[in-house]
Structure formats: structure tokens, C-alpha cells
Amino acid sequence: MLELVIISTLNGVLYGMLLFLMASGLTLIFSMMGVLNFAHASFYMLGAFFGFQISQWLGFWPAFVVAPVLVGAIGALVERYGLRNVHRHGHVAELLFTFGLAFVIEEVVQMIWGKVPVDYRVPPSLDFSAFTVFTTTYPAYKMFELLTAIAIFAVLLAVLTKTRVGLIIQAALTHPNMVAMLGHNVPRVFMLVFGVGTGLAAVAGVIAGPAFVTQSNMAAVLGPILFVVIVVGGLGSLSGAFVASLLIGLVQTFAVSVNYSVSDLFAGIGFSPASGTILHDLWEVTLAQIAPIIPYLMLVLILIFRPTGLLGKRET
């Protein structure tokens, strides 16, 4: 039991940190431009596929650096030549633009790499077990993912709170007009944030690709969860996104490892609804089976009972 708890906690924190790598960019972009970037998970997917392709040509470490930079550059271009033009049509148009972009990116990825998963493997230099908990060995690659995510989190926090650029970004979140009056190029700041945000998502893609499955539907699977994270944490709140990422990471990881259902609870009484009914379905479903819908339940509950999110200040 303790073994399960330790391993699940490690996996949950790791999943949560990966979610945060993406959610941080998404929430920064949202609070700055008011745009919910529907295509954010698509940049994560591009990161994974670029990482795969470049590691085929040059090896994993160059890919680890080059892929996020490339994706970040694509992100910046999308902001400069796409989103900025759509901006005058209003927020709905911006949201729809990113929605269409997610659609197109998925199709392009399918066009280039096909629909089946690509063979993106853990690099040999990291393919060993880091330590053993009771009987389970924990792979070093997962520790590498965890450390990378934590390091990026630390750098991001330092840049945002301690540097001049960070101060301008923070100011532009709340008072973009005033920042522009003071002579800063606010559109360029937006472009920068969009590029860095998508680049961070790509980092998550490069390191998560070998651990999960690198496939053309990975954006569609992860995208909605990212929205859950930033809404549950509170739109625009970086610390909220952090808390919510860890929360959802842990909840989902623990849920899939628990195989209990309501029928187990009532097994002693011997009561069970007739099979073939909806009640019977609900009765027999295990916690592991409902793991995929837990985030969405959380989203709906949060939006009903605490629309500002856990740590957010503004109403969604």
C-alpha cells in the first residue's frame, strides 16, 4: 500500500508538473491578451513530434533545445501574423482562430507523420532505473522530466518576479495601456509571451513524448484537461495554475490505481441493482474507470460554486 502511495505520488507530481509547464503559458497568454489559446496543446504536440524528428537526425539533447525554440518561433509568428489580425474582430473570433489552428495543426501532423504513434524512445543515456521503492524500480527518465519541469518553473518564477522583463509583463497583464504610454512596445511583449508560452508547451512535449505515446491525437486528448487546470486554478493566476496542475495530476494518478466501486462498499449487505440498468452501470463502475471524467466534474463544480477558481481574483 505504502509502495503504491509513494509511486503514485511521484507519478502524480510529475504529471502535475508537466501540466503546469503548459498551463503556465496558457494562463499567462490568457491574462495578457484575453485569448484562450485553444491550440496550446497543439504546440505541445508539435514539440513532441519535432523532438522525435530532430532526435532522429541529431540525437536527443540537440532536440531538447532546438525543438522548443522552433515551436516558440512558430508560436510567435502565429501571434504576429494570425492572432493580431484577428484581434480587431473581437474575442470570439480570436478563440475561433485558435480553434481552427488546433484543427489544422492536427491535420498537418497527421499528414507528415501519419496517424499511428511514432517510435519516440527514451534516450539511452537516461534509460536506467534511478532507485527502487520496495519492489518497484523508478526510471531515471521520469526523474529527469520532473527535475526539468521544476527547473523551468524556478526560472520562470525568477524571470517574472525579479527581472525587468518580468515586471513589464506583469504590468502589461493589468494595465496594458499605461505600459504602452511609458514607451514599451506592448504588442511585442504579447508576441514574446506567446512565443515563450508555446515554447514551454513544446518543452513539455519533447520530454513527455518518450514517456507517453507520441501520436496525432495527443493534443485533442490533453487540450481540454489544460483548460480544466487553468479554470480550476483561477484564470490568469500563475500560482493557481500551479496548485490546480498538481491537484489534477495527483487526483488522476491516484484514481487510475484504485479499483473500487460502489458495489464493493455494499458487498457485505448483498444488495445489487438489476443488471442492464443505468443504476447497475453506476454501481459497478470502478474509480479507475471514472478517472477520465473527474477533471470535467471538477471544472463544472468549480464553475458553479467558485467561478473565480481556487486562487483567481476575476470571475471567468
Binding site: 484562450l36 494570425g82 489580425n85 484577428v86 474582430h89 474575442h91 470570439v92 473570433a93 478563440l95 475561433l96 482562430f97 480553434f99 481552427g100 489552428l101 484543427f103 489544422v104 491535420e107 498537418v108 497527421q110 499528414m111 507528415i112 507523420w113 501519419g114 481540454p224 483548460f227 480544466v228 479554470v231 484564470l235 442492464g276 440498468t277 443505468i278 447497475h280 452501470d281 453506476l282 463502475v285 474507470q289 471514472i290 477520465p292 471524467i293 470535467y296 466534474l297 471544472l299 463544472v300 464553475l303 458553479i304 467561478p307 470571475e315 471567468t316
Partner: protein, 439 residues
């Protein structure tokens, strides 16, 4: 519709035949068209496609009640369409099993009723706020229902879904609804009823309040209306019509499947937006176009969804009013009687721009198709056929031709813009003169 026409409508007396004709003529024409169309396009494929179009028209119009009329962007509208479809299938199976006296053409009512019911349940939690919050909740609810379809197997039937047989139901007038043509007329009748109902709804004070809540919820509140209530009612009604669309879909396919239905949330958004959300006719155009492309384009190329996405992005960036918006842009010219400028200058200018534009488009498609052939279909060889022209995707000639068409076409297209802008200015000048002389 111009102001003059609106006034004409309001003052029309029941005995005023001209007013009656003006008011109902378009609908009578539409009904006649629905009746005659399967005789003109008599093939089985055409009947199937027109059935699909009818379903999509109702679904897209119900979506536009949210997005276009009330300003609610929903990413989960297929929930009500799908639940309507599932309950319709269950109802059909129950009717067939217990031999209840319910004919198949009343089944869409079951779909509509379930759409309304779930609209009330989900609407009460999701319409408290508009804008981004609503979009997020609709997305969450859509994902929630989609993923619970794998848990509630006795209702959703897991991955296979549920099937039914429309011919086993109670028969009236000896109609079996076996042939596709009968199904088409069933769908066309429901489509016409729903179109009339939804159009009438936009003309009621409630429809106007929906527009007010879309444009400025705060001021709507000052006038004494609760925006939450207006959104909620609009949401429920949109659910109702989406559910009605789900009923004919169940009758048409005789099958419902949760994963197929879930994908419709995106399709209906695409259809409504590409057609144009600012006009009632927009989603109708979009539904017809999108269904046509889905059926025809998927035969021609495997990557039709990419073109679909590019079309959508292009629309969002350059024509946010959709196809209907582009057409109705010219309505003032038409009504002012500036026909000479419209047909003599503006349309020739469009045609002039269209030629290099099409050239660039063909170049782009060629680049995409050749890339697709080289990257994914490499095992089938590099020889391919493009609009009936045989070419070699690995050869330099084809790539050079594609690049010339793309770059040259785009350059010439940009060069023709001044002509179009000039013609537009000219037409507007003539319109103003016509208006002044009329005054």
C-alpha cells in the same frame, strides 16, 4: 432586410394579398423547392446527401440561436443533438418491441423533448455567465457526457452504440420509410417546420432580447430583463431544436454512436461560422456547403479535413461575416438600385481578382497534395493524378509549376486589389447619388 421592407411587413393586413405574398412567399417557395428537389436530383446518392443536409440545417440553425442570436459560443452543442438521437433510438426500439401506435414521423418529437430536458438541466448551470466562461463550461459538459458514454453502457451502448430499424414501427398511410426518398420527405418536412419556427422566434420580442443580451448584457439588465433568464431560455430552445435534429439523424442512420456524435460539436461550429452567423440564412448555406464537402471532398482527397480547417481559418481572418456576410455586404447597393455599378464594375472586378486567386489556390492545393504523397503515401509511388493531370511528385517540374502558380497567383491577386477597391468605391458613390436623388 431593409427598413422599408420591415415597415411593409408590420403594416401588412391579413387581407392584403401583396403583403401576404411578401410575407409567406419565400417559405412557400422553399416548401416547393423541398418537394421538387428530389425529382431534379433523382439519384440515391443525392437523396442521401439532401437528407444529411436537412438534418445539418436544423442543427446549424439551432447552434446559431446560441452563437449568432445570443452570443453564446458553445463547444458542446452535440450533447443535445446526440442525447436526442439516443433517446429517439431507444424510443424507436421500445415502440417496435411493444407495438405502440407511434408512427416514425413523430419520433423527432422524442428527440426534441429530450434535447429540451437536458437543455434545462445543463443550461441552468452553464448560462449564468456568458462569454468565455460559458464556452469553457460547454466544453467541460461536452467532454463529461462524451466520456461518461463509456461508463453508462446500458444507455449509450459503449463503443458500438445502438442500432434500430425504422421500418418496424407503426405504419400510417402504409408508409414503410424503407426507401431513402420517404426518409428525405420526412426530414424535409421537419426541416421546414423547424426553419419556420426558428425564423419566427428571431422576430419575437424574445428574439430581440437575445440580440440585446448578446450586444450589451448590462443595458439589457437596465431595461428590466434578466440576462441569465434570456440566455437560459435561448439555451433550452437551442437544445430543443438540436434534439429535434438528432431525431431524424437517428431515423436516417438507424444507428447512434457516442464518439461519432461527439465530433459534431466542432462540425456544427464550422458550418454555422463559415456560412455566416450574422444572418438567418448563413447557417443554412454553411450546413449545405459543409455537408456537400464532407460527402464529396472525402471521396477526392484523404486530407479533406485540412482544407476544411484552412477554409475555416481563412473565414475567421478575412471574412468574419461568413459567406452570407459577403453576400449581404452588397445588399445596400442592390436596394439603392445601383445595378450599373454592381454588374458593370464590381462583379467584373471580382472576376478579375478571382482568376489569379484561383491560380494561387490551385498552386497551394498542389503543394499540399504532393507533400502528402511524398510524406505519407510514399509506398504508392510518386506518380499521381491532380485534377486529371498526371504528374510526378518527386520531379522538379511539378514543384516549379506549383510554386509559380502559388507565388505568381498571389502576387497578381494582390495587384488586382486596387481595382476591386476602386470598383467598390465607385459603386458606393453611385449608391449615395441614387439615394440622394430618391430623397
Amino acid at each position: 432586410m431593409t427598413d422599408a421592407a420591415k415597415i411593409g411587413m408590420r403594416t401588412a393586413q391579413p387581407a392584403d394579398w401583396l403583403g401576404m405574398a411578401r410575407r409567406y412567399g419565400a417559405w412557400l417557395l422553399l416548401a416547393a423547392a423541398f418537394a421538387v428537389l428530389p425529382k431534379i436530383f433523382a439519384s440515391g446518392t443525392a437523396h442521401t446527401m439532401m437528407s444529411l443536409m436537412g438534418i445539418m440545417i436544423v442543427f446549424a440553425l439551432s447552434y446559431n440561436m446560441l452563437l449568432g442570436e445570443t452570443g453564446l459560443l458553445s463547444f458542446g452543442h452535440a450533447v443535445y443533438y446526440g442525447l436526442g438521437g439516443f433517446l429517439a433510438v431507444h424510443a424507436m426500439n421500445t415502440v417496435a418491441r411493444d407495438a405502440l401506435p407511434v408512427p416514425v414521423f413523430l419520433i423527432p418529437l422524442v428527440g426534441g423533448f429530450s434535447g429540451l430536458l437536458f437543455g434545462i438541466v445543463f443550461g441552468s448551470v452553464s448560462t449564468r455567465r456568458g462569454g468565455t466562461a460559458f464556452a469553457m463550461i460547454s466544453l467541460g459538459l461536452g467532454e463529461l457526457v462524451a466520456s461518461s458514454s463509456l461508463i453508462l453502457r446500458s444507455f449509450f451502448g459503449g463503443e458500438e452504440g445502438f442500432s434500430t430499424n425504422r421500418t418496424k414501427l407503426f405504419r400510417v398511410f402504409d408508409l414503410s420509410f424503407g426507401p431513402q426518398l420517404q426518409v428525405y420527405y420526412l426530414i424535409a418536412a421537419w426541416c421546414l417546420i423547424c426553419m419556420v419556427a426558428m425564423y419566427a422566434l428571431t422576430r419575437t420580442p424574445f428574439g430581440r432580447m437575445c440580440n440585446a443580451v448578446r450586444d450589451n448584457p448590462e443595458r439589457a439588465q437596465f431595461v428590466g430583463y434578466n440576462p441569465y433568464m434570456v440566455r437560459f431560455i435561448a439555451f433550452c430552445l437551442a437544445g430543443l431544436f438540436a434534439g429535434i435534429a438528432g431525431g431524424p439523424a437517428a431515423i436516417n442512420f438507424e444507428l447512434v454512436n457516442a464518439s461519432v456524435v461527439a465530433a459534431q460539436s466542432g462540425t456544427v461550429l464550422l458550418a454555422a461560422y463559415v456560412g455566416g452567423i450574422g444572418n438567418f440564412i448563413g447557417p443554412v448555406i454553411g450546413a449545405i456547403l459543409v455537408t456537400y464537402l464532407q460527402v464529396m471532398l472525402s471521396d477526392v482527397t484523404e486530407i479533406w479535413q485540412l482544407y476544411f480547417g484552412l477554409l475555416f481559418i481563412g473565414m475567421v481572418m478575412f471574412a468574419p461575416g461568413g459567406i452570407a456576410g459577403l453576400i449581404f455586404m452588397h445588399e445596400p447597393l442592390w436596394h439603392a438600385g445601383a445595378y450599373r455599378a454592381l454588374f458593370g464594375r464590381l462583379i467584373p472586378a471580382y472576376l478579375l481578382a478571382l482568376i489569379p486567386g484561383l491560380m494561387a489556390l490551385v498552386g497551394l492545393i498542389l503543394v499540399i497534395e504532393m507533400t502528402f504523397r511524398l510524406m505519407v503515401k510514399a509506398s504508392e509511388g510518386t506518380r499521381m493524378s491532380f485534377f486529371g493531370v498526371p504528374l510526378d511528385a518527386a520531379g522538379a517540374a511539378a514543384w516549379i509549376a506549383a510554386a509559380v502558380m502559388l507565388v505568381g497567383g498571389f502576387y497578381l491577386f494582390r495587384r488586382t486589389w486596387p481595382f476591386v477597391a476602386d470598383a467598390w468605391q465607385h459603386a458606393h458613390g453611385e449608391m449615395q447619388r441614387a439615394r440622394r436623388s430618391a430623397a
